[in-house]
Symmetry: C2
Subunit: 382 residues, 2 copies
């Protein structure tokens, strides 16, 4: 808690102006001053800086309100790029993303049997490629990784699938590429991505639950990623649901992700109908064709997830929960089960207000989330 010094105030005002332009779409200097309560002189100075930097452009005249029509400004969404990287279990994907979340270039490297060293080399190669393809200045590198990250220091504390432990990934990338690096857990990053580039809503709070080979959540509070005391917030995939359940890769038993994940679903499908559902595509086809076995497995997964979600709703009373990841292909069935659990399983007044839906960003949610992490930190947007 300190008094802001002059440079901090200037920085604050710059961010204020940029946020106002970004969120308005198009806006005049006068309206920026009105909205931010900064003086017209201050606004004009800051806007000039942004125009000189190519970040903001004049795009025409506002409809006249009697006097001289005002010039409209907008953020040039292609003036800067972010590199968003998703270090997922079977492939590393990277993309160049513009300031509005459009993917300009994309590259995926499949990874199999990498060791800690070669996995890191693959990350270097991916970022290098992205930089070669970038035709605009790059603001920084954002990375989402399954596991426990330390966003403050850029350390990967634990990423089991890559055998990374206490790896200073942020520093390594920063030294190599001389760009700002921001990383976080992939589900946390996904939540920020959906918040930033997903369906528009007035609500500044959001929970995203991402189902893939594992399961995890990300929580956005007041427009900011909530990390918890040790950056592990959202690790709901490892809540124990069944005391003597199946062993989980975390070392415990009966974790939520041993019951609700694409892996778990296909394993269960295999037990019921060996060989009939070799992959998620086939499972989805069967589900969509109304195969009662697929329908029932999905309903079971939805019920189990719903019974975990009622704890989130009751603890946090956040009205917007979004399901992301690779079971959203069967999303409606999943949602129906979850919603039923919420209706019966939390205080009625809270249940009524809770909306549970599907993410809008699809498979790109982590890439876009990683890019939004850069946007937030480097331009102070959102």
């Amino acid at each position: 808690l300190k008094k802001a010094n002059q440079e901090e105030s200037r920085q604050h005002n710059r961010r204020l102006v940029l946020n106002t332009i970004y969120n308005s779409g198009e806006i005049s200097r006068v309206d920026i001053a009105r909205h931010t309560q900064l003086t017209r002189t201050t606004v004009s100075e800051i806007v000039s800086e942004f125009i000189d930097a190519g970040l903001v452009a004049e795009v025409g005249l506002a409809p006249s309100r009697g006097g001289k029509p005002a010039t409209l400004l907008k953020v040039d969404e292609n003036a800067r790029l972010m590199i968003g990287v998703d270090l997922a279990e079977k492939e590393f994907c990277g993309a160049l993303v513009n300031l509005r979340g459009a993917i300009v270039e994309r590259l995926c490297l499949s990874i199999e049997n990498e060791n800690a060293e070669t996995a890191l080399e693959r990350v270097y190669a991916l970022v290098e490629q992205m930089l070669v393809l970038a035709d605009q200045p790059v603001l920084g590198i954002g990375i989402g990784v399954p596991g426990l990250m330390d966003p403050a220091t850029g350390y990967v504390r634990q990423a089991v699938h890559l055998n990374w432990h206490d790896l200073p990934l942020g520093d390594l990338l920063h030294q190599r590429f001389q760009l700002p690096v921001h990383l976080a857990n992939d589900c946390q990053v996904a939540a920020l991505g959906e918040y930033t580039f997903g369906a528009e809503t007035a609500n500044r709070n959001l929970i995203v639950i991402k189902i893939g080979r594992g399961l995890g959540a990300g929580i956005v509070l007041s427009g900011q990623l909530f990390y918890g005391d040790n950056a592990g917030a959202g690790e709901i995939g490892h809540v124990q649901i069944i005391e003597d359940g199946e062993p989980c890769r975390c070392g415990n038993q009966g974790c939520l992700e041993t019951l609700v994940s694409s892996t778990a679903l296909l394993q269960k499908a295999h037990l019921i109908a060996p060989g009939e559902f070799p992959d998620l595509i086939r499972f989805t086809q069967a589900y969509q064709a109304g195969d009662p076995r697929a329908v029932s497995l999905l309903e079971e997964a939805g019920n189990t997830l719903g019974r975990a979600i009622i704890h989130l709703v009751s603890a946090l009373n956040l009205n917007r929960i979004v399901i992301a990841g690779n079971l959203t292909c069967c999303g409606e069935g999943l949602l129906a089960s979850i919603q039923r659990q919420v209706q019966n399983g939390v205080l009625p007044a809270l249940a009524q207000q809770t909306e549970i839906g599907l993410a809008t960003l699809g498979d790109d949610i982590v890439i876009l989330g990683a890019a939004s992490l850069v946007l937030k930190h480097e331009l102070g947007l959102f």
Copy 2:
């Protein structure tokens, strides 16, 4: 997101100075300036205002560092009082609380068979009595109520035990007593109380779970009460644990508080040993004497609560969880069961960091919490 105007800046600086003095215990003007980065002139002006208002006092000289020794300042903890009110199920308690959380006067009214009207009259009577007893200016009235509150408007949305629905309690009290009124759910208020006046810790995050006739939680994030989107955060007593469980007063079945609460514990004790445990005092005596039936019932309650707490730990990754309320008399047994569930039921890296303990404020936790709500809002402390 706006530029701060001058009056807001002055207000911010005043709060900065008062917080610095309050948290330092004793401090000189020079050290306040150093700590806040405000100029010595600004600090001296603000300190003069506080001294004139009687809120801050000069208490002697600091050890000389060579030059003229500096005068030390402290907050006069008895210069102002807050009224803290706990509208619990069987009695309404009110207290005059000083700025350090010491209870100066206390009054409890037992309430039985009140209707909505007479319950309100009892609240008026309680506050009136407190005001008569106050020998210093009263900053405001803080109230903790079981149920759903709207802290922003001062409305009681739902307090079933008093048959209050959409009651503008804040406005009613404000009109009657011409004092600021702040209210929130009793468990939320308890969390703020423990954070403000309980055991000191560097952690600005805290979860308090309060067990009484019901069960609920309060969450403090970055030193602020977290309310969620509709002020219902912490309503974990109504998470459904057993799908076809006992009916709960909320209308659902098998809620956590039907399994873990003093009511539930005594009901179960009655089934096992009719008449032997008529009240919590007798139950506690039996537990402390090692009665295996009491020990086992408590262990069961701890396990059930622990299995709900693993969801909180996994979702929020907050390291400090505190159990408050009337089962803390058997606290060690309860904690042991909860800790075991956490050890087995969340991601090992998170489990290791989580500390679960007992609240330090005892039966006064809601009263003190309600007072701390006033302290926070009216003086901007913490």
